[in-house]
């Protein structure tokens, strides 16, 4: 029949029109400010700086090596290296970033800074709704705004953070063992092959990095433990 297609089309749109009032499944729109799509674990938006322990300034992993600044394709990172050294979370004196700014209006979220960082100090955040009425100052994040705790990192990327912690713990244990072996070759030798076991450390009580203060973010406790206890060990040996 002539006009059959038009009638079919009209029926289809009418079905959509009334159906959208009846079944909510038809409406796939997410009403954004009120609703959010649950983010997948691999979500990444803008970088942040990880710190260990409770204090963001002393616990910052960044040692101002400026590799990320040099590698950043859109040049959105500005780092000024400190002139003095301060003890890091482990207790070892390190340079620290006197200034660490990221202009997130320039950042293209490429994650290259994360990939080049040898200290696992910079990671990708999942925070994407960062609106501000100050388009210059409000989008230029300084090191205080960028600093987020390791617990927060565990919360947003649990798998990745656990892997990083394990690797860091292993590295530090290895370094500590090597140092101990160099200092007193005989007794420390058997302890050296033990890779990431934080057992010896637990016996030596540590004063400096106290148990993590309750953060606003819910800490994923178990992966944190080895690092905290591990970090105490080199501190003692130092």
């Amino acid at each position: 029949m002539i006009g059959n297609g038009i009638l079919k089309g009209l029926a289809e749109t009418a079905r959509n029109f009334f159906g959208s009032y009846v079944s909510k499944d038809r409406l796939t729109t997410v009403q954004y400010p009120e609703q959010h799509i649950p983010q997948i674990e691999a979500t990444r938006d803008f970088p942040f700086l990880v710190y260990d322990g409770a204090d963001w300034e002393s616990g910052m992993r960044c040692v101002a090596c400026q590799i990320c600044e040099k590698e950043c394709p859109p040049k959105c990172i500005l780092i000024t290296k400190s002139t003095d050294k301060k003890p890091d979370a482990v207790g070892k004196p390190q340079f620290y970033p006197a200034v660490f700014d990221i202009d997130i209006s320039v950042c293209m979220s490429c994650q290259i800074c994360v990939e080049v960082c040898p200290f696992d100090a910079i990671k990708m955040d999942v925070q994407f709704d960062l609106p501000t009425d100050d388009r210059f100052g409000g989008l230029l994040l300084d090191r205080h705004k960028l600093a987020k705790s390791n617990e927060y990192y565990h919360q947003i990327h649990p798998t990745e953070a656990t892997a990083v912690d394990t690797a860091l713990a292993a590295e530090r244990a290895k370094a500590a063992a090597a140092k101990a072996a160099a200092a007193t070759p005989k007794p420390a030798a058997p302890a050296a092959p033990a890779p990431a076991a934080p057992k010896p450390a637990s016996s030596t009580a540590t004063p400096a990095p106290a148990p993590v203060a309750p953060m606003p973010v819910k800490p994923a406790e178990p992966p944190i433990k080895p690092l905290a206890s591990e970090s105490s060990k080199p501190g003692e040996t130092k």
């Binding site: 038009i6 749109t13 959509n16 959208s20 038809r26």
Partner: protein
């Protein structure tokens, strides 16, 4: 007290009574001018208001047809969206191209809106509610309607942009092509009513058989004329599926691409006003104007019926827009000249046939004859115009 004293007739005539009461306060010398002003103001208020309601209805309706929400942020369920849009278009910068013909560029939207409003002068919105009862009302309506083409051309040409020129070219070609069937489709009503006055046409459709009204829609030539008229009206008001002049994918916004801010809003307004005007004309010609659709519903005021009918037609326009894709230029022209125009001419012949065939006991035979005369050429035309696909074997000369 007052509400109790009002009869249904008073409610029906309330605007007319208010106008007379106000006119009595004016000195006799000024009464003609005051009368005109008092009649024009409601038109200038009601139809832009209807435009605002239509934009939000259209956006919400189209959204629902595509399984979306549509605007739902401003006010309750998004119904204050037009206010936000209005404020936005008023505060926007008015950009005029450097090489544009500034005077013509400025005048085009104004002329368009004036032309769109002029058509309402002869439309009866309710019983005794018509601005001017011209005895050549239909003629006036179409004459004013073609000023729209002039302003579209002014806008397209003065912008000095290839897109607006192409859009204007398309728009004018389309409007002129579809104006012919639009007029021819309404000729049947003029033949039957014997008058060009829209008030007389509405009166000739008044009266009921049982509970059913004597609308021209309920005759074979009436229903064919109505369908042809509505198709031509859709094309005339540049609405989907005939929205080639502003085809977003090819020429962005057509003839008003170089307009921004409030001038753009004026184009938008004029387009909708044109749509309301042709819909109102369709109501007046075929759907009994302001008359109630069933005899026992006459207690509802006439202007309410008029606007209800108009809303139904607007909703149908929105429904069509949500359903059909845009036509191609050759399809558009072919449809106008090869199908709509012959059918409109045939419809005039059928209206004459209906007039001279005997009514009464042979009424059903009259119906059958008229429908047959209309349907047979319609089927023949639509099948013969169907493009046959010519599938050729494609050879690639350089592939071997």
């Amino acid at each position: 007290m007052i509400a109790a004293a009002l009869t249904t007739q008073d409610v029906d005539q309330i605007f007319v009574l208010i106008k007379h009461a106000l006119l009595a306060c004016v000195p006799a010398a000024l009464q003609p001018i005051a009368s005109a002003v008092l009649s024009i103001i409601p038109i200038l208020v009601a139809f832009p208001l209807l435009f605002a309601i239509t934009t939000v209805l259209e956006r919400k309706g189209l959204g629902r047809m595509q399984n979306r929400y549509g605007p739902n942020r401003v006010g309750p369920a998004g119904f204050f969206q037009p206010i936000a849009d209005g404020i936005k278009s008023l505060t926007k910068e008015d950009v005029v191209p450097l090489s544009a013909d500034h005077a013509v560029h400025f005048l085009a939207p104004i002329l368009l809106v004036i032309a769109a409003f002029l058509g309402y002068a002869v439309l009866p919105i309710g019983r005794n509610m018509v601005l001017v009862n011209l005895n050549a009302g239909v003629l006036f309506f179409f004459a004013v309607g073609s000023v729209v083409e002039l302003s579209v051309f002014m806008a397209g040409w003065s912008s000095r942009s290839k897109y607006s020129l192409l859009g204007a070219m398309r728009a004018i070609a389309q409007m002129i092509s579809y104006e012919v069937p639009l007029v021819l489709a309404s000729v049947v009503v003029i033949m039957q009513a014997g008058s060009l006055s829209l008030v007389t046409i509405v009166e000739s459709q008044s009266g009921y058989t049982g509970i059913f009204p004597h609308w021209y829609l309920f005759t074979p030539w009436g229903i064919a004329g109505f369908i042809l008229f509505m198709i031509a009206a859709t094309a005339e008001s540049n609405r989907s599926p005939f929205d080639l002049p502003e085809g977003e994918s090819e020429i962005i916004a057509g003839y008003f691409i170089e307009y921004s801010g409030f001038k753009f809003a004026l184009f938008f307004l004029a387009e909708y006003l044109g749509m309301f005007a042709t819909s109102s004309l369709a109501i007046t010609l075929f759907l009994g104007g302001w008359a109630a659709p069933l005899s026992f519903l006459t207690f509802i005021p006439s202007y309410v019926w008029f606007f209800l009918k108009l809303l139904v037609l607007i909703c149908f326009f929105i429904w069509i827009r949500g359903t059909l894709p845009r036509l191609r230029m050759d399809q558009l022209m072919g449809f106008a000249w090869k199908f709509i125009l012959p059918m409109a001419l045939l419809n005039i012949f059928v209206a004459g046939l209906w007039r001279f065939l005997p009514a009464g006991p042979l009424n059903s035979i009259r119906w059958l004859v008229c429908i047959g005369v209309l349907a047979a050429p319609c089927i023949v035309l639509s099948f013969s115009l169907k493009q046959k696909k010519k599938l050729l074997v494609r050879t690639y000369h350089f592939a071997e």
